[in-house]
Point group: C2
Chain length 716, copies 2
């Protein structure tokens, strides 16, 4: 859909100018200088010609179809200009101007007006508040960053400066570049997920690099990301996670900075490689756009000194990458060619073995890459600098090794990474490596991060089967009876289900819970209780709880009585609860008292769902009591969750080890818990009316579980 | 003491050579080329002259005093050569050769022999297994790294490659360099702390940069670090923290990689700036060697685009740095000179205000640095690149701003940091900043890390008073009675104190505990118990526990009976415990049964001490039960701990919030807990015989506490 916009064959510059300091001049100049393959139409009512091109009074007067309009005029002019663009059947418009949502209420109104004009006229908007866009395939440079390098990475960026940073970095590193750059700006019309879909289908784009401050349609983005990352990697840095950062992002692109626990987990599930440090953003994208993913999560290190090897081993371990022991064959072969002092475990340390002839690096690499335990090779240390540091003639051996490295990666489909202290020096060997597409870095940290990202992406591809696609099938498994419970509440003007209603609803979908019965008077209460207590041998006891749509927090109203077993206790408690409730809220609509069996002691679990403003329905899971209240040891996942995800959720909190049984105890029924989480996912999918659900506590046993309290709030 | 070694005026090269590939040739060549200010004496029995210098058959034949010998010959020759060095009264020797401890048992024996010769002869050793050392003040370059830049940083490094990395980085960055480099190698004789002491007293050294794989005398190092970091900052990267890293470090310098929880905490307490990523090591050292520490923990950000500002705000928040709101005066003044779209909160975003004249950066900086809320300024974005990116003439405004930045830092003693995308380009403005000593980086991550380190160092200096100096005064407060308890155990050949002995010992030092009495038979037991139970109203109960030096884990032997209150219970339990103990270990030396009051329920705490192989006595604190067993939520501190440290220890675990009281409960007696920890520190200092102590559990109450069980193990 965005083809006519991002691959425009004709561009109108609205606000074209003869003033060299104006964007409307620079844009035309850059298009001419870069050799844009399409047509350029300056628009300015006051000029006849700009930079040798005919200038039009108005976009409607142009006697040819226009795909894209670059609008450089101030915010206030935008709605009218967009109307004319619509008249002209322009496919898309880039709005450079700031002064919209990011400047408060008035700006937001203006932005909404612009979007509404766009919707009516069918003109798609990039921005506002953007630095523009570049299509490097057609040399359509609408930003004015000079000589952006062409390559395989599509760049989606919510900050002009970050785009400039990344493009500058690519220019300095020389090897890799871009297919497109789009400055997303306020993302008021075209959304991140639409660009993603476009880049997924662009054959030249091999990786998508994103800088995000906040996005408005998180769930659709996850859905598109899920479809995209199986085909090509997405690398993303999300800023604005701190309070000050949020403030800054807010005044910057007027975006919402979402809860980072929710988003990082969700991005990971969609296969996105999330980056925390901006230094790593471009190198990781470069790596993922050009190297085969490592699916074994393993790497070998080849070093010409211990320090670098030790640091690299530390970092890779931190990232969870295995440094497997080399096979006996590999070790024996390395022993043959390396000096006695060399270490042939992984990391391999040549211990001076390469001093006389650095082409030995290639011999070592060949032996190591043949090892089936090894998914790739990281060379750390001085390679590429032997001719600089020691003796000029050594450069020849390095160059020979570089050629052989090139042949190896081609043959074995295992990546080689080279960390070299001499990466910023003139080194033919390193240039050769770059020519062969081998990533070269002068930072150990970045080399290791690139290796780790390639493993992470490989792990994702390997486990792709069973991943959710984040698509919600509303009313998927809704039941008539369930719907009726909700309708009843709505009819009564309630947006809260009563406890027994909520329990009926979850029971309907298979959750183990004792619904209980609502007693209207103390005789009823005892009649119901006595059935539960019934058989004295079972020692069952009952709990009484107030039932009122106006009393959400039953304990606060002293509306709960536990462990009751005699007629007098039950009757007295009934009276007391009613009395307390009336005292707590004289106007409360009291429906009665719920009589339910006391649950046996078990491990306390909390499950909750809510609607996240970016991602829609999300679920929270954790152990109850101090684990959630004090240790905040909970995990949030975007719904729906697959059975595999349920399993991972249970491993996602530190306290989850308690599920396995500790101090010699038997473990708890994890299968029942997973089933309950799946049920919650299904339930939320079935009833779009639900705003929030709390199952708290759920008591988990060696066998089975019991949802002791359930609260469901409907959307208003 | 190391003055004659590190500031040597005469150097003998033992193993001098005419072969250009040999170290014994290169060393002399480098000394000559660099213009070493002292005398050079080649030693080789087979040569007469090397590089124009007279060559000696033997070091003893040199007819002048020799301060330092560089020994380039293989490991096996070292002991004999050292003997001759001793004869010649050489102050120090650098042993380049590997093949010692790092190669196993045989190598270790050789190393011990060399060290023993050194001790006998008084020759101090650098290495073995080192790349050498450099004194840049006298041009004594004994490493062969070409043209190391001179400056104010002393470099202590346990990896030749890391030294080369750091020196290369300094060369590329141009501004800062080194006073000394010492390759510490296996640290077999001269220890890290001795070098530290030397550098502390060297007036030209402004900061000490360390790469450590493992150190042998951690406590002495902490003591010297404590004395040093108040005068000049120490920046340290400790590698070998992962299992694989340790393996690699082990085969590298044969060093012990210590427990990183213990060491990072201890380093921090000694004021050391601990670095995790090798990329940050040099920039942070450069910053700390040249910038005034920030004691307010605050910084302002000045940006010409939102993306960089947001990322920087995120990072600084992660580091715990405040970005304070600017004063109303500051904001008003900024408003006057910046366009309407600009943000004048912190971060300040000029929003295009500098496009026409980048000297406006200096106007903004001046206003911001005057603000008393602000401890320093971080400029992020394109500064230094306006002349490159936009219009050449803008470079003039940038240069003007650079000069004014220089004047400001001189006047205000507040540091300015500049992040510039154009840091690796030719930019006069950036060169000027470097000239004025203003740190310039092209990495936002590194800029922020530098700011954070300057704050961290400032915070340390501010809180220096009350820091422990890590000095242990053995027998500090030992009591005669305490000593007797230990002597009794030793006389009996025991290295375990019995529970009541351990409790007596801690009670002697003021710990609240019920020692109890040892009953030899059931009648005794009841007599003792009845006194405790005595008054029926108090409802006190007793606990019986087996007393045997051969049964450490009393519960495993079913040797504990709780909650006893009647004569029959007590007597029956006594019999049962003795029977169980005999069944558990028929050979056990059974001393009787301890009768003690049952402790009231309270919050379970665990305190333990042990001897760390690097740092000596350390203490562990945490909440008991699942917090320690499952959540591993404990903290380790090197002893002694000051009262201030005790307070920090209690804040150092996540679960410590429970101490403050939760769910509406009253809090616990933190003062009593701090006192107990202080007591443990004192106790360990008093009795050097103690190897391990466990107070587990300690029950903490709203008022007071009770050490319910105590175990003390003596050194063998």
């Amino acid at each position: 859909m965005l083809d006519r916009v991002l691959n425009a064959k004709s561009v109108a510059i609205i606000g074209a100018s003869k003033n060299k300091t104006k964007r409307g001049y620079q844009a035309i100049k850059t298009l001419l200088a870069d050799g844009f393959e399409g047509e350029i139409y300056p628009v300015n009512p006051k000029e006849d010609k700009i930079l040798g091109l005919n200038c039009y009074k108005d976009i409607t007067q142009i006697d040819a179809p226009i795909d894209l309009a670059l609008i450089t005029t101030p915010a206030g002019t935008i709605p009218d200009i967009l109307r004319k663009c619509g008249e002209k059947k322009v496919a898309g418009a880039i709005i450079i101007a700031g002064g919209f949502r990011e400047l408060g209420v008035k700006g937001k109104e203006l932005e909404l007006e612009a979007v509404s004009v766009a919707k009516q006229t069918g003109v798609r908007l990039i921005g506002p508040n953007t630095s523009g866009m570049i299509n490097l395939k057609t040399n359509m440079n609408l930003v004015g960053i000079q000589n952006p390098p062409r390559g395989n990475i599509a760049l989606l960026c919510q900050s002009g400066n970050m785009a400039l940073t990344l493009i500058t970095e690519a220019t300095i590193r020389k090897h890799e570049g871009f297919t497109y750059y789009v400055g997303v700006g306020n993302e008021s019309d075209i959304k991140f997920h639409e660009y993603l879909e476009f880049f997924r289908n662009d054959p030249e784009t091999k990786a998508i690099l994103m800088y995000v401050e906040g996005m408005s349609e998180g769930r659709k983005f996850l859905q598109e990301a899920h479809k995209t990352s199986i085909k090509k990697p997405i690398i993303l840095l999300k800023s604005g996670r701190s309070a000050t950062g949020k403030k800054s992002a807010g005044s910057h692109t007027g975006s919402l900075a979402g809860m980072s626990e929710v988003s990082n987990r969700a991005y990971g599930r969609a296969g996105i490689i999330v980056i925390e440090n901006s230094d790593e953003l471009f190198p990781v994208a470069e790596t993922l756009s050009s190297q085969p993913p490592i699916k074994t999560n393993t790497i070998a290190i080849l070093a010409d000194g211990g320090g670098h090897a030790t640091i690299a081993a530390d970092l890779l371990s931190d990232y969870g990458i295995n440094l497997p022991e080399l096979s006996d064959t590999t070790k024996a072969k390395l022993r043959e060619i390396l000096p006695e002092a060399a270490s042939v475990i992984n990391p391999v340390d040549v211990a001076g073995g390469t001093d006389a002839d650095p082409s030995l690096f290639a011999d070592c690499a060949k032996i190591i890459l043949k090892d089936p335990n090894v998914g790739g090779l990281l060379v750390v240390g001085l390679f590429g600098g032997y001719g600089i540091r020691f003796e000029e003639s050594l450069a020849i051996g390095e160059e020979a090794a570089a050629h052989r490295f090139g042949a190896m990666v081609k043959k074995r489909h295992k990546p080689i990474f080279v960390h070299s202290l001499y990466s910023s020096y003139e080194s033919r060997a390193l240039d050769l490596l770059r020519h062969y597409g081998i990533p070269v870095h002068d930072s150990l940290d970045i080399s290791c991060k690139c290796v780790a990202s390639l493993c992470k992406y490989g792990n994702y591809l390997k486990s792709y089967h069973g991943k959710t696609n984040f698509v919600f099938n509303w009313r998927a498994k809704a039941r008539k009876e369930g719907q009726q419970i909700i309708e009843t509440a709505k009819k009564e003007g309630r947006h809260v289900l009563l406890e027994h209603e909520a329990k009926q609803l979850i029971q309907l979908h298979g959750a183990p819970t004792s619904v209980g019965q609502v007693a209207k008077n103390q005789e009823d209460a005892w009649a119901m209780a006595s059935k539960i207590i019934g058989n004295r041998d079972r020692k069952d006891k009952v709990v009484l709880k107030i039932v009122s749509p106006d009393i959400l927090h039953k304990s606060d109203a002293c509306g709960v009585k536990l462990n009751l077993s005699s007629e007098s206790e039950v009757k007295k408690s009934f009276q007391q609860i009613i009395k307390n409730a009336k005292a707590y809220n004289p106007d409360a609509d009291i429906r009665g008292v719920l009589v339910a069996p006391m649950a046996a002691k078990g491990l306390e679990i909390i499950i909750g769902t809510k609607i996240d403003e970016q991602f829609g329905p999300v679920i929270m899971y954790g152990l109850g009591g101090i684990m959630v209240e004090i240790m905040k040891d909970v995990t949030f996942w975007v719904l729906p969750v697959s059975p595999v995800s349920c399993k991972k959720m249970l491993e996602d909190t530190r306290s989850s080890v308690l599920l396995g049984g500790v101090r010699g105890q038997k473990g708890y029924d994890k299968a029942a818990l997973r089933k309950l989480i799946s049920m919650c996912s299904e339930l939320i999918e079935s009833y779009p009316e639900i705003e929030e659900m709390d199952l708290n506590p759920v008591l988990l046993y060696e066998e089975g579980l019991d949802v002791v309290d359930a609260r469901i709030i409907l959307k208003k």
